[in-house]
């Protein structure tokens, strides 16, 4: 889903940070994508590589970490992997969950030298 425009957005944010470190060379951009976000990693890798080719970031790599869907039950504290998009606690069946790994689409950090 829109991997090329997402890659462009990534590089715009990278520029914002790299401009503050003029002597640094970008090696890796680490992004975190939740399990429910409709982004195809191969497509995103491809888009990134196309955009950085022949640019100052051409030696850099995109690293994608997929965040698995995880729930923490606010009723009993049980922490569990959410299977089959079943958003209830397997321990106490509460629907009151804190959910991670769903909709995140963010840049975690940059590795430079």
């Amino acid at each position: 889903m829109h991997e090329m425009s997402i890659a462009q957005n990534i590089l715009e944010i990278v520029d914002e940070y790299m401009v503050r470190e003029p002597a640094a060379k970008l090696l890796e951009v680490v992004v975190e994508i939740g399990e429910m976000v409709a982004v195809v990693p191969d497509s995103l890798y491809f888009s990134y590589d196309v955009l950085v080719e022949n640019s100052k970031y051409q030696d850099s790599k995109l690293i994608i970490n997929i965040l698995p869907l995880q729930g923490t039950c606010r009723s009993c504290g049980h922490v569990f992997k959410i299977e089959n998009y079943n958003f209830n606690c397997p321990s106490c069946h509460s629907l009151d969950l804190h959910v991670q790994g769903g909709q995140e689409l963010r840049i975690s950090h940059l590795e430079v030298e």
Partner: protein, 216 residues
């Protein structure tokens, strides 16, 4: 290897513009819904029925999003409401910036309720906040009862679910209880309405609910 911490959302630009839209809506006390579905579920029909019944009571505005044509805006304009058509020319979802530009064509101080009818698509629009108060996802009885299971992200981020075309239940293999169960499994907080835009069945519940929300 030195690390520069970023921790920034990639779609931050869209979120920032959506927040600007939201502030504008709050300042003008406008209740806004982002109407989402596959193509053909009945978004425009629901909008027509809603306008038919609420137009006399509430000042309504409409933003239409389509890949091509202004057919939907034309259907809606028969109800004498301010409507702006966004033609994306290929874009498969609306973004906050498009909506922000469309808002310049309304006198927001005179609106109480704004419906943004998104492009028919159950995938991409789930990721793009437009500044709305609520997301309303529609599906119909001709689409298969496992629709929520196939598009979990959309049903997860929505607040309201509307099942349309219940007048066709005798003619299709659609298990209403299964569809609702799939949806509630993904999003236990979903408020569900079952209706038929064609026959009017179930419409009253939707309209009463809307009235109570808009007037708060």
């Amino acid at each position: 290897m030195p690390v520069i911490t970023v921790e920034r959302k990639i779609l931050k630009k869209n979120d920032e513009i959506a927040a600007e839209n939201r502030r504008l809506f709050d300042e003008n006390q406008i209740y806004v819904i982002n109407l989402l579905s596959s193509p053909g579920s009945g978004k425009t029909s629901l909008l027509e029925k809603t306008l038919e019944h609420l137009n006399d009571e509430v000042a309504i505005g409409v933003v239409e999003g389509d890949v091509q044509t202004d057919n939907d805006a034309q259907r809606v304009s028969r109800y004498q409401v301010p409507v702006v058509q966004i033609v994306t020319n290929g874009g498969c979802h609306l973004e906050a910036l498009l909506v922000q530009k469309a808002l310049q064509n309304f006198d927001l101080s005179r609106l109480q309720f704004l419906v943004i009818e998104n492009v028919g698509n159950l995938v991409c629009p789930a990721n793009y906040d437009l500044g709305e108060t609520l997301k309303v996802v529609m599906m119909s009885t001709t689409e298969g009862d496992d629709k929520p299971a196939k598009y979990p992200a959309m049903f997860r981020v929505s607040d309201i679910m509307i099942i349309n075309k219940i007048d066709l239940l005798d003619y299709v293999d659609f298990d209403l209880e299964k569809a609702k169960a799939y949806a509630l499994q993904i999003n236990p907080k979903l408020h569900i309405f079952e209706l038929s835009c064609k026959t009017g069945q179930g419409l009253d519940q939707w309209l009463s609910w809307l009235r109570s929300r808009i007037q708060t």
